[in-house]
Symmetry: C2
Subunit: 358 residues, 2 copies
């Protein structure tokens, strides 16, 4: 039988054309040694002539390895998740893995279970969850989902390996920077409290104030959106109007900082002359705001690379026979932390001279 022109060619077609067995074709395709150079060339010619591509499905079936990794994310259009995802994607491709991505619409246990199911259906070999939310981590740890599973920004106590940016340190550096500029205290507009990142940034802010012996004002709670930054900015202006000293604000992300800048501008307050503002994320436009925003940069590409490496390590560990090194017990889930870096620009400046009205 000649190869059907309708069907795409299979190994047997190549084998027939090259005058060898299909196994020899397999050996050539997989770069096995012990194939005569002349044979390799002949097979290669046949492959080119037919436009043959190895059927990954059949290969996966017999090798029991799909080479697919899953990624669970919440909202891939947000700056952080999008960057992290891009980092993972690049690292995965370099490592020869394919990626299957699920974006969650909500973090309910049902939604998470559905997403996990979607990935299991595809026989992913392992999974990375970009899981910055408390509820998501809970749901993931509870579901008998795909393993191994690595949590990015996952928080502790989940029993999962975690890769995260040192949010608390970044926040601490930002606040410390403001205190060094002479501000007596620093206000805070936090992110959505359901997010672990919001919590870590609050913690870093609070620690820096404590270390400086400064009182921590009640934080204003936003939800990451520019709108909430704007609204919290107006509240802050109200506070100021009642006589409270407001000379510096640490905002949990750049988008909210943009909203805050808008609110301050509307109220006729100058940045940094009247109030200093520091953001978090270092979005590309931060440098071009009015004024250019002091902020904290995260190396998302590295987070992606590291989390993939952790996942591949876990995959490798799973292959080793259990109990081989039984004396040491199961190794604890690793927790890798990527540093954050302060970028000082013009939105932060020295504290203004004390208000003569007071």
């Amino acid at each position: 039988m000649t190869p059907q022109s309708g069907r795409s060619p299979v190994m047997a077609d190549v084998a027939r054309l090259a005058g060898v067995s299909h196994q020899t074709v397999s050996r050539v395709v997989n770069g096995h040694p012990n194939v005569r150079a002349e044979t390799t060339a002949r097979v290669q010619r046949a492959i080119d002539e037919l436009g043959y591509h190895r059927n990954s499905t059949a290969r996966a079936l017999v090798t029991r390895r799909t080479n697919v990794l899953g990624v669970i994310a919440f909202d891939t259009t947000l700056f952080g998740p999008a960057q992290t995802l891009a980092g993972i994607e690049r690292a995965a491709r370099e490592a020869g893995y394919f990626l299957s991505i699920v974006s969650l619409d909500d973090v309910s246990p049902a939604g998470v279970a559905e997403a996990v199911d979607y990935l299991i259906q595809q026989s992913v070999e392992g999974c990375i969850a970009i899981a910055p939310q408390r509820a998501l981590v809970r749901a993931l740890a509870a579901v008998p989902g795909p393993r191994p599973l690595v949590a990015v920004e996952g928080g502790e106590g989940s029993g999962l390996p975690v890769v995260c940016v040192d949010q608390a340190q970044g926040a601490h550096d930002a606040v410390r920077h403001l205190i060094d500029l002479g501000h007596r205290t620093v206000h805070h507009i936090s992110g959505d409290p359901e997010w672990l990142e919001a919590e870590s940034r609050v913690a870093g802010w609070r620690r820096a104030l404590e270390e400086a012996g400064a009182a921590a004002p009640e934080p204003l709670v936003g939800d990451w959106s520019p709108r909430s930054g704007y609204e919290m900015g107006r509240r802050l202006i109200q506070r100021r109007a009642t006589g409270e000293e407001v000379t510096a604000v640490f905002v949990a992300n750049d988008q909210m900082a943009i909203g805050l800048l808008r609110a301050l501008g509307e109220a006729g307050l100058r940045v940094p002359d009247d109030i200093s503002v520091v953001g978090f994320d270092d979005v590309p436009e931060a440098e071009f705001l009015a004024p250019p925003l002091t902020t904290v940069a995260q190396d998302f590409a590295q987070v992606g690379r590291v989390s993939l490496r952790v996942l591949l390590d876990e995959l490798g560990a799973g292959e080793r026979p259990a109990g081989e090194d039984a004396a040491s017990g199961p190794p604890p889930a690793p927790r890798l932390i990527v540093p954050a870096r302060l970028r000082v620009r013009q939105s932060s400046g020295p504290a203004p001279a004390p208000d003569p009205h007071r």
Copy 2:
């Protein structure tokens, strides 16, 4: 043989536990009719007990359908592509398809060929390319890549089905809006000229000026980044200093508009009192800039939905026997256009009174 605790269970294990043949299990799993309710229940119990999941690889091998669609994108961290991707992802999941995504680092034929190969390796059934760049479309149309293939923002003449936002109309509306406010002409900061979107927006800008009988100043060429917006803003200010009338600027995206606002602010020019600015994209922070930015919104979710539908249509068309309707010849590649919508905010206002110095 009892099911090995190491291996995950297969149909045969379920069949043994339920006391039926594996084929009956298959029927239950696939929801075939003609299975007795009592049998279905027994099989379902066995499935639950063993935690059985159908092996999608084996299924794909025999059905010759992987249920995987490929997406080729250039930079998924940019606003437009990220939104489009999210739209496609959601639509694909709803349609029961999996997605495999490749982010290109460069649009060279070699890079594109590699990406295409990556998708072919995975036996994708079809492909969507988020291909806003001229070189990318060229490379894609040339490569004997995966088919069917739908191009998002792909431009014409490629012979591929295309889904795109009506960039030219959006740009036209933006410029028209400025003219209606009394501006005698509108300057333009364009995007990277390698991008088709940049070209369409230039075309829309030019047409609106022509229709109004206004002269079109030389456009300033940016590259979408806030930095280039800033730099082109400074050039614009130079033009103004030489006596050229610059009262309104249409900027090809919001990020560059942010850079422009910064440049204008530095130069002491007020928006919109001295100069009106209109952007494109309607990023979430546009509403909270100083001043809130008039811009053009694109419905990326709809682009995602529509492009998936076009792809599925093409898939369906491929299944039908060729020549069945031979008289009409092959149907032309469809070209679907999603409208864009102007969002008027405060960065655009009436033209200032003519400069008394002139």
